[in-house]
């Protein structure tokens, strides 16, 4: 059962408290549950760690120090025809598409990701590191006994490994939100920029400039030469999506069989709250828009509504929305949009692809989608909840307000009805203007909600389209976008200042001012809260 969250123990604490660990050993350190790292005896490790990384290496007494050593050790540990010999190399880095310029270094935060294995559920092992041969390495490995990913990392330059938890530890107290689960909110593999054009990733849509590798003394490194030609396109399809689906399916299996520690309420947190986000951008490059070579800039539909959620319950997403390139370019000037890292790089302009904004994370939409498919949640409930404050698909305090009414019950039968009944039974449900009242209106439309809800959506889409015709209207959307970006900057997944461009609205921007929260209204106007 979920309980109140204990004091937050960030991932950094894991490293701080893991200094001085014994080399050539695996330690268990579940932040939130364990006070300190516990060296695992062979038998303990064997019973707890059912993934191929542990079984082929750690339990066999092999303790690599770097990501490169992990791959070498795995190659030696498995037979030539083992799927784990299938290695794929990927690269991400905020600002990685900025070509190197002598005298103007950029802190691109380059990270390699290597996957080992292949199959319908994605690879079994993912290795992440800033450098193949230096520094710490992080590993996620699918536990073939219990399901879920086991999270590991090295500490400093030692050969001590820390087991920091399994995906299931992300779901419930006392381990949820602690250690690796401050970023991996529901225990999933993270690819923030999941969808085309995968801003920040080396991909068919934007290759990392060769000059970047030269600047990092990596141009002849085997990992660079072996970078997957399909880049993020392959990563999305062959790794991220199947991995997320795999853990979601395992998690819901446990929930339905009564063997899970979580309750269905935890699923609704992923609908009513915004535990994490993905990042989406225009397909149009900022340079093409600013120079006018492209007359218009497409905008992510998920900035305006939760498209994936709406489609899942049978509602229409908006038709593509565009803004004139000259309007976009003027807005960049108005808000003094610049790219800057945390050192000396500072250049006017937006991210490589224009208008990067947060959208509801795929791990959350997939959870809700599978919950619908498996009759844990009804389409009517999900549609009614999504349509509360629908113009704010992420960071909606109004939708989050409804969470308090969701019953903490383990039984999934009639869960949707019980949620609806609980909200409808509140005094607020009959008070105009409340979230509960808005839900009641939506719910009372009944099972045949499609026409009514699409009527609301179409009016909204039409109003938004009209606003995008004007400079003032788009400037308001820039302010709203920056308000949402600021929320993301406060999240642990924000690891670089180059994640987004900076503006005069950014809290740490050149003309600092306190940023008010901004909300989209159903008429397409933006409200300052």
């Amino acid at each position: 059962m979920s309980t109140a969250a204990p004091p937050h123990r960030p991932c950094a604490a894991l490293e701080q408290q893991s200094e001085g660990l014994d080399d050539d050993a695996v330690h268990r350190f579940l932040l939130g549950q364990d006070n300190s790292p516990q060296k695992l005896r062979q038998q303990e490790a064997s019973s707890e760690l059912g993934d191929p990384f542990a079984q082929h290496l750690l339990l066999e007494g092999v303790f690599p120090r770097t990501a490169g050593e992990v791959l070498s050790a795995l190659e030696q540990a498995v037979t030539a025809d083992d799927p784990l010999r299938t290695q794929r190399f990927f690269l991400v880095g905020e600002g990685s598409q900025i070509a190197d310029m002598p005298g103007s270094p950029v802190n691109r935060n380059l990270r390699f990701l290597v996957t080992c294995g292949s199959g319908q559920g994605g690879p079994d092992i993912m290795v992440s590191a800033f450098h193949p041969d230096e520094g710490t390495a992080e590993v996620m490995a699918w536990d073939r006994r219990t399901g879920g990913f086991n999270f590991y990392r090295t500490v400093g330059s030692s050969s001590a490994w820390v087991f920091a938890g399994n995906s299931r530890h992300a779901l419930t107290a006392p381990t949820r939100d602690n250690g690796p689960f401050e970023s991996h909110k529901s225990g999933h593999f993270i690819m923030k920029e999941l969808r085309f054009p995968w801003v920040h990733w080396d991909s068919p849509a934007a290759k990392v400039s060769p000059s970047v590798f030269t600047a990092q003394n990596l141009d002849d490194h085997p990992w660079v030469r072996r970078l997957e030609p399909g880049g993020a396109y392959t990563l999305e399809d062959e790794v991220a999506i199947p991995s997320i689906q795999r853990w979601t399916q395992t998690r819901l299996d446990a929930l339905l069989s009564g063997t899970s520690q979580e309750t269905p309420k935890r699923l609704l947190e992923q609908l009513l709250d915004t535990p994490t986000v993905n990042l989406m951008s225009s397909i149009t490059s900022s340079a093409a828009a600013i120079t006018g070579s492209e007359p218009k800039v497409d905008l992510p539909d998920t900035f305006f509504v939760d498209s994936a959620g709406l489609v899942k319950v049978g509602l229409q997403p908006p038709t593509p929305l565009f803004v004139a390139s000259e309007v976009y370019a003027r807005s960049l000037q108005t808000f003094e949009v610049t790219l800057r890292d945390d050192e000396q790089f500072n250049r006017p302009g937006d991210t490589h692809f224009a208008f990067v904004v947060p959208e509801r994370a795929f791990e959350d939409t997939e959870t809700i989608a599978q919950a619908i498919d498996r009759d844990i949640l009804s389409k009517r409930l999900v549609a009614s909840l999504l349509m509360v404050d629908f113009p704010n698909p992420v960071f909606s305090a109004r939708r989050r307000q409804l969470l308090q009414h969701v019953p903490e019950i383990a039984d999934t039968a009639d869960f949707s009805e019980q949620v609806a009944d609980a909200i409808l039974a509140t005094p607020e449900a009959s008070q105009a203007g409340t979230a509960e009242n808005e839900f009641a209106e939506r719910w009372n439309v009944g099972e045949a909600f499609k026409d009514t809800f699409e009527g609301l959506l179409e009016r909204y889409y039409s109003d938004v389209s009209a606003k995008l015709e004007t400079q003032e209207g788009f400037d308001d959307y820039m302010r709203l976008a920056e308000s949402r970006r600021e929320r993301v900057r406060q999240m642990p997944i924000a690891e670089s200042k180059l994640l987004f461009a900076h503006t005069t609205l950014t809290l740490s921007g050149p003309t600092t001012m306190l940023m008010p929260d901004r909300l989209m209204r159903p008429d397409g106007t933006v409200e300052e809260v």
Binding site: G119, Q120, G122, E238, I241, P242, A287, S293, E294, D301
Partner: protein, 333 residues
């Protein structure tokens, strides 16, 4: 690698007599000769040496047209439009669909075969042209369906124009070998904008250099990679056998009713695994279900374009170090 003795047939197909394969090499050589003169950083590998240590650059993209994603959004409309007419399928890959009486998809056939090759077959081995159509479409095809009044092969004939049934080769206007060679050659030209600033952004480069559509997956990527190499003074060509290839199906995450790996349903019909030209996606009858029963991201396959999202296309290029000192030119587009 040294000097190439001749241009091989697409996919290294062996179906032509040796003399006709030689004639195909002459056809490709003609296309290359057209661009070698005007574009000195593009070279003919049958004339100029390619050092053995030059690794090819494999350029990969999705068969689904990004242009439609931008114009139609991420919903169902983009798939419907891509499936509606072959002219929408502009990523050097086209597909056609076979459905059962209930409208459920049974097989999707993908091709990257260029029309130039089929014109070549029609000229040099006309007797076998019909044989090939019979093999790939069925016995209902007659020679008169394939030729015009002057006896010339008609690439967009009644059996190779639709998105239904079994297609033969590419017909969309930009999907041809000559266009791919022209693009690679023209992209060796460096550009500057009206302010004299170098044009390096691929979308801007495509517009500036008149190098195709800025929102195709293929053209801007090819243009950027070639342009980057040209900026270093290198010389560029394509990897033999010249052509566009099906690099494979990204099947992870496809859910089949019996848990089978959907990758097993991808069958290469022409070419080799390394150089696949035509492939189909169909479930063997003994499994008792069809493509329409397979789910992608929780949704049953109802459009060929859903699978096209997962089909990888490949073009391979070679860039050898050289000492050209290219001068940037103004935009032409």
């Amino acid at each position: 690698m040294a000097i190439l003795t001749r241009f091989d047939t697409p996919g290294r197909l062996l179906e032509l007599a040796d003399g006709d394969r030689e004639a195909w090499s002459d056809t490709v050589a003609g296309l290359v000769a057209d661009v070698v003169g005007p574009f000195p950083q593009f070279y003919d590998p049958t004339v100029t040496d390619t050092p053995d240590d030059i690794a090819p650059s494999h350029i990969i993209w999705s068969a689904f047209p990004t242009r439609l994603l931008r114009e139609e959004g991420a919903g169902e409309a983009r798939w419907a439009r891509a499936d509606s007419v072959r002219d929408e399928q502009d990523e050097y890959c086209e597909w056609s669909i076979e459905r059962d009486a209930d409208g459920k998809i049974g097989r999707i056939t993908f091709t990257t075969e260029v029309r130039e090759y089929w014109k070549h077959v029609a000229v040099h081995e006309r007797d076998r042209l019909l044989e090939f159509y019979h093999e790939q479409v069925g016995p209902q095809v007659s020679l008169s369906d394939l030729l015009d009044e002057d006896g010339q092969y008609v690439p967009r004939n009644r059996w190779n124009i639709s998105t239904e049934g079994r297609l033969i080769h590419l017909v969309q206007g930009n999907n041809n070998l000559e266009a791919a060679i022209q693009l690679a050659a023209q992209a060796t030209i460096l550009r500057h904008d009206s302010d004299g600033k170098p044009v390096t952004d691929r979308q801007q480069l495509v517009r500036c250099g008149g190098l195709g559509h800025a929102f195709r997956n293929s053209d801007p990527q090819i243009a950027e990679i070639v342009n980057d190499a040209a900026a270093l003074g290198a010389e560029i060509t394509l990897l033999d056998p010249f052509g566009l290839y099906l690099d494979g199906l990204q099947s992870a995450g496809m859910q089949t009713p019996d848990g089978a790996d959907a990758a097993a349903f991808w069958q290469i019909e022409r070419g080799t695994r390394e150089h696949a030209l035509r492939a189909s996606f169909a479930v063997p009858e003994d499994r008792g279900y069809s493509v329409g029963d397979i789910m992608i991201n929780g949704r049953a396959i109802d459009f060929g374009a859903q699978v096209a999202d997962k089909v990888r296309i490949r073009l391979s290029a070679l860039a050898k170090p050289a000492t050209h000192e290219p001068v940037r030119r103004p935009c032409v587009g």
